[in-house]
Amino acid sequence: MHEASAAEALVKMVSAEAVARKAARVSRIRLVVGEATGYMRESLEFYVAASARGSLAEGAILEIRYVKPLVRCPSCGLEFERRRFSFECPACGCQGVMTKAGSEFYIDSMEIEAPA
């Protein structure tokens, strides 16, 4: 459910871009997703395919690049990937703080085809 409205917004955006560039269709969409956002690959693929039906993005390949959440240690400065149920720094054992990495949710680029 969570992914449905995201997929709609995504398809609306790439379709509008494709129309503005007078493209025949969108063949590929490159999406960047921070793992901590909880947007699942299978759901995104399902809802994007469903939302794209009848639009210029119908049948486009969805390429998703996931970004690992990074935690920064305030004492030693190390940036590290989170372990389950922990924010602890593997080097010095201090409590880390979350960084921006892992919260991404944007369209990086797309491939469009010109009319024949």
Binding site: T37, S103, Y106, D108, E113
Partner: protein, 227 residues
């Protein structure tokens, strides 16, 4: 042909939210987006605050639910000006929904506006809806691991309200573990224990909210969707 975009999926939402925020701020209305899982005590919290603000300032509530208007009815029964958004399946409120309902409300200038989001700690954290601040409500009954499991709901909130404190022993709530996770996700967020039934703790929370209202001039930050 490759087309570079680098555009956030929810950019349209974010623009609408910014407009809502500016409209509210211009009229001195302070908007609080209340996040929390189902049954965390969001409505009880709002009820306790409304009781304390009665006669002092205008207050309105927007209730978000997937279905039903039970909460809106109970708030209205207490004389609180409440409005219902039924999302019909959507698991979060977004800015267009708030824009639409604000058009049907007659908010007094200088009001407090509490927006109770859908009971869910995941996607409500991904949306700005025009609020000044988010606050997150977690009950001890949900367990002490919530900041670890849903870090963004906490990271994007200016304060955390810990409800049902009388159940700490009954459910074996590990407060040190909870606070440690909260410190990592939201290092600056204060924690306010609140008993939603008796109102114990509500005065402290309200005092903090008054301070936030006096200090907060900027909208709630966007959720870092762009690199």
């Amino acid at each position: 042909m490759r087309v570079e975009l680098k555009r956030a999926i929810y950019e349209e939402n974010d623009v609408i939210a910014r407009n809502i925020h500016e409209g509210l701020a211009a009229r001195g209305i302070f908007a609080v987006n209340v996040l929390g899982g189902p049954g965390a005590g969001k409505t009880s919290l709002i009820t306790q605050l409304a009781a304390r603000l009665r006669g002092e300032a205008a207050l309105a509530v927007i209730e978000g639910d997937v279905a039903s208007d039970i909460d809106t009815k109970s708030l209205r029964a207490l004389g609180i000006d409440a409005y219902q958004i039924e999302t019909g399946g959507d698991c979060h409120l977004n800015a267009p929904m708030i824009k639409a309902i604000l058009g049907r409300m007659s908010l007094a200038d200088g009001s407090w506006l509490f927006i109770e989001n859908i009971g869910n700690l995941i996607c409500p954290a991904e949306f700005v809806i025009g609020e000044h601040i988010k606050i997150v409500v977690a009950s001890v009954a949900e367990g002490s691991d919530k900041p670890y499991k849903y870090p963004f709901a906490f990271a994007r909130s200016a304060a955390c309200v810990l409800t049902k404190p009388d159940l700490v022993d009954a459910v074996g709530f590990d407060e040190a573990f909870f606070r440690s996770g909260l410190a990592a996700a939201a290092p600056d967020a204060p924690v306010f224990p609140l008993n939603g039934r008796t109102g114990k703790g509500a005065d402290e929370l309200l005092a903090w909210l008054r301070g936030a209202r006096a200090a907060e001039l900027r909208p709630s930050p966007l959720p870092n969707h762009l690199p």
